[in-house]
Amino acid sequence: MSMRGFIEMDFSFGGASSSETIWQQIEEGEVVGYFKADGTPVELPEIYEMRVASSDILPSIPIGDSA
């Protein structure tokens, strides 16, 4: 089974106490990019923390989700 789609993530960096939502894009089990809810690519800093907000793998980023 190929693993592809988008997973919702909570992302923080720089010791921030709050996190923001971004979407992790997966192709064939590999992470190929991160995006905001509006589809804008996210360039990650070198050091960050991230955790899965929902383990559901969605075929696309849900429209209207805030980021």
Partner: protein, 137 residues
């Protein structure tokens, strides 16, 4: 003081673990959010033979980083040392096929109060169960 000293062997077996390691922390100095797998005996120290890593379902590819911490606050980089890394391949959950796990051989003595912490380089959904096998001196 340790009970056995010449040669030194562990006296009491110790197995400790952490389940559901899922979060990413890309710091290479052991700071930030970590999962503690193994804590050495507070009086005599411990020996840690190995870590076993078992996927708990569907995960993207990631990397496991293993740190020794001297018992101090891990947010202070000087208290941590990166001692091992292991590439973890993508896994797909199955109820009919076993998912391949991994082992990290360490074979290290740990002074009293030292800890072994782990992080992932990429956040995963299913997570990993990580256990440390060793013994207290």
């Amino acid at each position: 003081m340790a009970a056995n000293t010449d040669p030194i062997f562990s006296k009491v077996p110790k197995v400790q673990w952490t389940n559901g390691v899922t979060a990413a922390n890309t710091a290479k100095d052991g700071t930030g959010t970590v999962d503690t797998v193994f804590t050495a005996d507070a009086v005599n120290g411990s020996y840690l033979q190995k870590l076993t890593i078992r996927p708990r379902g569907t995960n993207v590819a990631t990397v496991l980083r293993v740190f020794v911490n001297n018992g101090g606050d891990n947010t202070v980089a000087a208290n941590n040392a990166l001692i091992a890394e292991l590439s973890l391949l993508a896994t797909t959950n199955s109820e009919i096929v076993s998912i391949i796990g991994n082992e990290v051989p360490l074979n290290i003595p740990l002074p009293p109060g030292y800890r072994v912490n782990v992080t992932l380089g990429t956040a995963v959904a299913g997570g990993f169960a990580i256990a440390g096998f060793g013994g207290d001196y």
